[in-house]
Symmetry: C2
Subunit: 211 residues, 2 copies
DNA sequence: ATTAAAATCCGGGAAAACCAGTAGTTGAAA
DNA sequence: TTTCAACTACTGGTTTTCCCGGATTTTAAT
């Protein structure tokens, strides 16, 4: 009977992925596709007047960030389970999604069987990951364990200038500061990233998409 | 009649994408899915004994790089058209695919109509891009126009060490070289990247996935 | 065998960064 | 009002990088 089926929604910016997921899930008899959305806001509008048991949620969306959207979904519909479904494989992304209320996380290389299984586990309230995500979670890198350094507004500004190749005195002139002030900010940045020079600083910052 | 249909293959590591593309293309009556492959080698084996008029080819595959695969496909089957279909939106990637023999390039946010249209244009021998790719090609950034610097083996090695935060004298000790040698390599690296200091060098290198 | 590229090393100097602290002011939070 | 964080600036020094050339040797390509 229809009311016993799982109402599932899909939010992804790629039509190809929407079609593929629908095809994969249609053969799972107990899942009903409640809707497919290419933007976060379209889904939020839908959610306000429809019941969705579980949503497959991409992180990269054209209008909002999937992580922020996750938080918003949980506000509007706390009983709706959210499964992240993305190509982003960084542990920090995965953890952030869970922190924002997601019940699980899958990479897009998930198999059909796994997808269905994860959906059911999530509906049972189990935190669930696809195999590839479990492997990532099982061996975190040092930088992932450390977390992302929290920078002040000025530090971010200085960091951007440094990455653009500007010297301390050039930055000072541009921001109407003393070069000694800029030096202090550099020192603080290097302490936060636990590095000893600018090369390592910029590498870490770029790899964490802070620049 | 069957023999008048376009024989199309799909190579993508994501099952979801394979299913989605098949669903989208099945409704286009004149296209026949000759096969779907999640690895480059599987497709190459197939291609050796089957006719494929056109292939939709992802760049990120588990066993080979899609760009190298493109070149190999054109060697084995010069008449097979290759359309890149990827999330990679860097102009350098697009140009490299064309350089390796692709007839066109689409981003995965392509619409169903566009997909079909691009397939037909490619079959007509026209270099074709999805709308999003045309926009990218219409306004290249300075760094994209410059191309990726070609580094020697030693330069790559030195660059990696620099990015790891090592000083010139530390690198020299590790490689059993004179610090002056390392200095010269640094100088050459900065000339190739057209930057003035290590911060800008590392930023460029990381952003181009050279580190 | 010849040529070209890569790799090596150097002089001399100036500029810039890094180090390890210290301290005052301002604005936001409690 | 008080406390705290952010931002500011400084001392005195050392280390490192960048600059602008130049040159020889080794390896790879022709």
């Amino acid at each position: 009977m229809l009311e016993h089926k799982v109402k599932l929604a899909i939010v992804d910016d790629h039509l190809i992925v929407l079609e593929g997921l629908q095809k994969l899930l249609t053969s799972a008899g107990d899942i009903e596709i409640a809707g497919s959305f290419t933007t976060g806001n379209a889904f939020i509008e839908f959610l306000k007047s429809n019941t969705v048991h579980i949503v497959l949620l991409d992180i990269t969306l054209p209008d909002v960030n999937g992580m922020d959207l996750c938080r918003e979904i949980k506000k509007i519909a706390p009983d709706t389970h959210v499964l992240g479904l993305s190509n982003h494989s960084e542990r920090s992304m995965i953890v952030q999604m869970l922190h924002n209320g997601a019940t699980g996380y899958l990479l897009k290389n998930v198999s059909a069987e796994e997808l269905t299984q994860c959906i059911h586990e999530a509906l049972n309230g189990q935190v669930t990951f696809s195999k590839a995500v479990r492997e990532i979670m099982a061996r975190p890198s040092m930088s992932e364990l450390k977390g992302v350094p929290q920078l002040t507004k000025r530090e971010k500004e200085i960091l951007q200038f440094i990455a653009d190749g500007k010297t301390t005195s050039a930055i000072a002139a541009e921001l109407f500061l003393s070069p000694l002030t800029v030096e202090t900010h550099r020192k603080n940045l290097m302490q936060k990233f636990e590095v000893k020079n600018v090369a390592a600083l910029i590498k870490e910052a770029v790899q964490r998409h802070m620049i």
